[in-house]
């Protein structure tokens, strides 16, 4: 099983490198989609079907958003200018980060043997305490419902921010001047 994970991860790394280095913006967005769908397949094989479903759909929606932002501006001209200081700084930082990762992962428990002090209780007593067959739903909406409340507040705030930023000129002016030009529906 671990070999399969490694093959999928190498495929996703190739997709990520293409997404970062390609000049055409549409290709970059679609190559980032390779990573997203690869993550979704990995979730399915890591025995997390809830997250696999959510990841597939969220990936489709985020591709739509990113393609919506991509306009026909002179993308390739921007990409052709190379900022050598930022490149060198980025590579140095990347090297330091990978070194620290390897140093930290030596002390972790090996892959496939998690530390389950809290979760063991959820698995063995979840059905009696909550009555839900899906343990993930029991954790989200019963044991840790505050998390879900916080998540709802965060997504509410982000939508509010997006609306405030996008509606740049105030409601009334859009309705008066741009109604004829753009054709905003009532």
């Amino acid at each position: 099983m671990e070999t399969f994970f490694i093959i999928m991860l190498v495929l996703m790394i190739i997709g990520a490198i293409i997404a970062v280095e390609t000049k055409n913006m549409l290709s970059a967005v679609i190559a980032a989609g390779v990573v997203g769908f690869g993550v979704s397949v990995l979730f399915l094989f890591l025995k997390a079907p809830d997250i696999a479903i959510t990841q597939v759909i969220v990936e489709v929606l985020s591709l739509i958003i990113l393609i919506r932002v991509t306009t026909k501006a002179d993308n390739e001209a921007i990409e052709r200018k190379i900022d050598s200081f930022a490149n060198i700084a980025g590579l140095v930082f990347v090297g330091i980060f990978v070194g620290f990762c390897i140093w930290a992962f030596v002390d972790m428990t090996p892959f496939g043997t998690p530390l389950m002090r809290v979760s063991q209780h959820y698995l063995s007593a979840g059905l009696e305490e909550t009555g839900a067959a899906n343990t993930v739903a029991a954790v989200i909406l019963d044991y840790r419902a505050y998390d879900t409340l916080g998540e709802a507040v965060v997504i509410f705030t982000s939508i509010l921010g997006a609306f405030v930023i996008l509606r740049s000129r105030g409601k009334k002016k859009i309705y008066e001047e741009d109604y004829v030009k753009v054709g905003i529906p009532e």
Partner: protein, 159 residues
Amino acid sequence: MKQKDIEQIIHDDHTGMSLIVKTVARMMIAVIILFAFYIILYGHLTPGGGFAGGVILAIAYTLMMLAFSRKMALHKFSDFWASFWDNIGMLAFIILGFLGLNSGYFLYNFIWHGKPFHLVSAGIIPLANIAIGVKVGACLYAIFIGLSIYGRLIIKEEE
């Protein structure tokens, strides 16, 4: 919008995408919404739940917006109703939490748990799933309304 205008949008080649996409979308949207409600309602028994079902609900209306036109999608589910259902979902979740204060603490699972592996079981979890699903679906659909209406100005000026 009258019935005649809707039929004109469906059969017109200039608004929205091509005829093949429109035909397939017309058949699929109802099925996608049905699937979303299945995922939300059975969230405590099978994989899924409020988050996944809500996003599927949003994607059904986004498909309508992309395939037909923005006018059609706003006719079926306008921005006022999107914000209304968003607030209703949030309020329902918070009120469920406060009802738990009656017999314990905030967000306490106060309803009788019922028989396991049945649709009516697990106390407040199915109700909270419905609230979260409605909230997430309306919220993500509102994003697309925003990106579509206000983002339109940018592209138009460039041309």
